[in-house]
C-alpha cells in the first residue's frame, strides 16, 4: 500500500491551504471529498435524503473545526470519524427511516413488476446494496460515487488493495446474483 497516493496528496494540500485561511480551499476540499463521504454515509443510511443530510452535517462540522486538525495527513480518519458519528446520531433519532425509505418492502421479491419507475429502480437497487455485508457496501458505493483507483480507495478505507479487489468482486457477484434471480422470477 503506497504511503501517499496522489489523491491523498491533493487532499493534504487542500487541507494545508484551508488551514492557512484560504476559503477557496475549503470549497475545493468539500467538492473533492464529497463523493467518498457520501459513500460512507449512504452505506450506513438507507435513504438518500438522510445520506445527503448526513454528508452536509459532516462537512459543516468538519470545516468549522478544521483547526483542530494539526496534521493534514490525519484528515481521512478524522473526517470519517465525524461522518460515522453523524450517521450514528441520525440512526438513533430516526429509527424508522433507517430501515426503509419508502413504504414498500425493501427486500426484493419475485413479484417485483417488470416496469418499475426510475426512482423505484434506484430505491430497489439501494435495497439490494443494503442487503450486502457492511464492508462490501461502503466499498461498492465508494467505487461508483467517487473516481478513485483501487490504490486510492485502499488508502481511504485503510485496507489493502487486494481487499478492495475482493470486496468489489464479491459485491458485484452478489448483486448480479440477486438481479438475475429476479429476472428469472419475472420470466416464469
Amino acid at each position: 500500500m503506497p504511503l501517499t497516493s496522489e489523491t491523498q496528496r491533493e487532499t493534504e494540500d487542500c487541507v494545508r491551504r484551508a488551514l492557512s485561511g484560504d476559503d477557496n480551499a475549503k470549497i475545493d476540499l468539500v467538492r473533492h471529498l464529497y463523493g467518498r463521504i457520501h459513500a460512507l454515509c449512504q452505506s450506513q443510511l438507507r435513504s438518500q435524503a438522510d445520506a445527503e443530510d448526513a454528508v452536509q452535517e459532516t462537512f459543516m462540522r468538519g470545516m468549522a473545526r478544521l483547526d483542530e486538525l494539526k496534521s493534514p495527513e490525519a484528515i481521512t480518519g478524522w473526517l470519517r470519524g465525524i461522518a460515522h458519528n453523524v450517521c450514528v446520531d441520525l440512526i438513533r433519532r430516526n429509527r424508522v427511516r433507517y430501515t426503509s425509505s419508502t413504504d414498500v418492502a425493501t427486500l426484493p421479491t419475485d413479484d417485483t413488476p417488470a416496469n418499475i419507475t426510475d426512482h423505484e429502480e434506484r430505491d430497489h437497487l439501494m435495497g439490494l446494496i443494503h442487503a450486502l455485508p457492511e464492508p462490501l457496501r461502503e466499498t461498492i458505493l465508494l467505487h461508483y460515487y467517487d473516481e478513485m483507483t483501487y490504490d486510492q480507495m485502499a488508502a481511504w478505507l485503510g485496507v489493502a488493495r487486494s481487499t478492495v479487489n475482493d470486496r468489489l468482486s464479491k459485491a458485484r457477484g452478489m448483486l448480479k446474483h440477486q438481479l438475475m434471480s429476479q429476472r428469472c422470477g419475472d420470466e416464469l
Binding site: 452536509q56 453523524v86 433519532r93 475482493d166 448480479k176 438475475m180
Partner: protein, 401 residues
C-alpha cells in the same frame, strides 16, 4: 489460468486495474472460455446499471459547499441542518473578550481565605487511576485523598509516579494531572501548576487563569485560558512548556517575557526566560491520558479520538512510530483504553485502526484486561477474536509475549 482464477480478476478488468501481464492471461482464457465471457458480459451490464443509478446530485453538493463555508454559528443540530443560525464571528470575539475582562474583575485580590471561615469548595476529584494526595490549607501535612473528594481554595494536589487524576473545577473547567504532578488551587477560576504535566479544558463560558512556576519561582508566569479552550502544561525544575491544543489564541506572560499563544503552538520558557516556539503535532499530546480516560465514565469519545489520531499514522510515518512507542510505554495500563476503543461503536468504521489497536493491546495486556478480552473473543471480526483468545491464553499461562 482456470475459470475460478479468471473470475477473481473480472472486476479489476472492467475497472482497468489489472497489470498488463495478468490482463493478457485473462484475455487468453476468455478467448477460450464461453462461460467466463458470459460472466464478463453480465458484469459489464451490472456495472453500467450501477454507474447509471448511483449518481450524485449536484444540487446536494452545492448545498454542502454553501453550508460548510458560510460564517460560523453555534454547532447546529442535525434537525436544523438546513437552517443555520448565523452568528457573525465578531460577536463571538466580543463575548470572549468580555468574559476575560470580567474574570479579572471577579478574581479576589487576596487568594487565601480568611482564617476561621468555612472553606468554599473550589472543585472536586472526578476520577483517578490510583491514589492521590492533598495538602489542605489548614493542615501542614500531605494526606491521601479520601471519599469526600472536595477540593478547597488553597489546597494542593499531587499524584505519585504512574497515577493520573481528573478534577472538575466549580466553574466547570476540567483538569487532568499526569504522574508526579502537582498543582495548587487558588480559586475556582485560578490554579497554579507546580510540577509535572497538567492538561486543562475550560468550560464553554468561563475562562481559567493558570499560573506556572518552577521551583523557587525562578520562573513565574501566568496565562488566561479563554472559554472553550484546551491547553497542556509541562513543568520541571528548569522550564515551563505550554501547548495550545484547541480554542482561541491567548497570551502567556512571565517576569521577563510576554508571548502570544496561538492554537497548535508549543512554547517553552526556561529559568533564564529564553523563549522557544514551535508548531507541535498534537495527535500524540494526549496519549498519556488514555488510562485515565478509560477509567472515567464519560471519557469514551475523547479516548476514541486520541487513539484514532495516534494509530492512524502507525506504519506510515516516523511520528506514527513514536506514537506507538508512547502507547507501549503505558504498559498494561495502556491495554485497557485500547481494548475500550476496540469495543466502542466508532471503531467499527475504522477496521485497520481497530486491528492495530487490538494487536498492541494484546501484547500489553495483563490480568486486569481479562474480562474485556473474554468479551472480545466472540467478536464478529475473526482477527479480533483470534487476538483476544491468544492473549487470554498467554495471560493464563503467564508466558512472556
Amino acid at each position: 489460468m482456470n475459470c475460478e482464477q479468471c473470475n477473481c480478476h473480472l472486476s479489476a478488468l472492467i475497472d482497468g486495474e489489472l497489470s498488463a501481464t495478468v490482463q493478457r492471461e485473462v484475455q487468453r482464457h476468455l478467448d477460450k472460455c464461453r462461460s467466463c465471457r458470459d460472466a464478463l458480459d453480465d458484469l459489464k451490464m451490472l456495472d453500467a446499471k450501477l454507474t447509471d443509478q448511483l449518481a450524485l446530485s449536484s444540487n446536494a453538493i452545492d448545498r454542502a459547499v454553501d453550508a460548510s463555508t458560510t460564517p460560523l454559528g453555534p454547532q447546529p443540530s442535525l434537525a436544523r441542518a438546513r437552517w443555520i443560525e448565523q452568528i457573525p464571528a465578531w460577536s463571538i470575539v466580543a463575548v470572549v473578550a468580555a468574559s476575560i475582562a470580567l474574570a479579572f474583575v471577579l478574581l479576589p485580590r487576596k487568594d487565601d481565605p480568611l482564617p476561621g471561615t468555612a472553606l468554599p469548595t473550589a472543585g472536586r476529584l472526578v476520577s483517578t487511576t490510583g491514589s492521590v494526595e492533598v495538602l489542605d490549607p489548614e493542615s501542614q501535612r500531605w494526606q491521601p485523598f479520601v471519599s469526600s473528594n472536595e477540593l478547597f481554595i488553597g489546597s494542593r494536589i499531587r499524584t505519585p509516579v504512574g497515577v493520573n487524576c481528573e478534577i472538575e473545577m466549580a466553574d466547570r473547567a476540567t483538569l487532568r494531572l499526569g504522574g508526579a504532578a502537582e498543582l495548587a488551587i487558588r480559586s475556582p477560576k485560578h490554579i497554579e501548576v507546580l510540577q509535572g504535566q497538567v492538561w486543562c479544558r475550560t468550560s464553554e463560558s468561563e475562562p481559567l487563569r493558570v499560573d506556572a512556576r518552577t521551583p523557587n519561582s525562578q520562573l513565574a508566569s501566568s496565562m488566561i485560558c479563554p472559554a472553550n479552550s484546551e491547553f497542556q502544561w509541562t513543568i520541571d525544575s528548569n522550564r515551563a512548556v505550554v501547548q495550545a491544543l484547541a480554542g482561541p489564541a491567548t497570551e502567556w506572560t512571565g517576569t521577563d517575557f510576554r508571548c502570544p499563544v496561538g492554537p497548535g503552538e508549543r512554547i517553552a520558557v526556561d529559568n533564564q526566560q529564553n523563549v522557544e516556539r514551535s508548531e507541535e503535532d498534537l495527535a500524540s499530546t494526549k496519549i498519556w491520558q488514555l488510562p485515565l480516560l478509560a477509567v472515567s465514565g464519560k471519557g469514551q469519545e475523547e479516548l476514541d479520538r486520541v487513539i484514532e489520531a495516534a494509530l492512524i499514522r502507525i506504519g506510515r510515518t516516523k511520528t506514527g512510530y513514536l506514537d506507538e512507542q508512547q502507547i507501549r510505554q503505558l504498559g498494561p495500563r495502556g491495554a485497557i483504553p485500547l481494548l475500550a476503543y476496540v469495543q466502542s461503536d466508532r471503531s467499527g468504521a475504522q477496521v485497520s485502526v481497530r486491528h492495530r489497536a487490538m494487536q498492541i493491546a494484546t501484547e500489553l495486556a495483563d490480568e486486569s484486561a481479562s474480562s474485556r478480552l473474554r468479551q472480545l473473543s466472540s467478536d464478529q471480526d475473526d482477527t479480533i477474536a483470534e487476538h483476544a483468545k491468544r492473549a487470554l491464553q498467554r495471560i493464563e499461562n503467564n508466558v512472556q509475549p
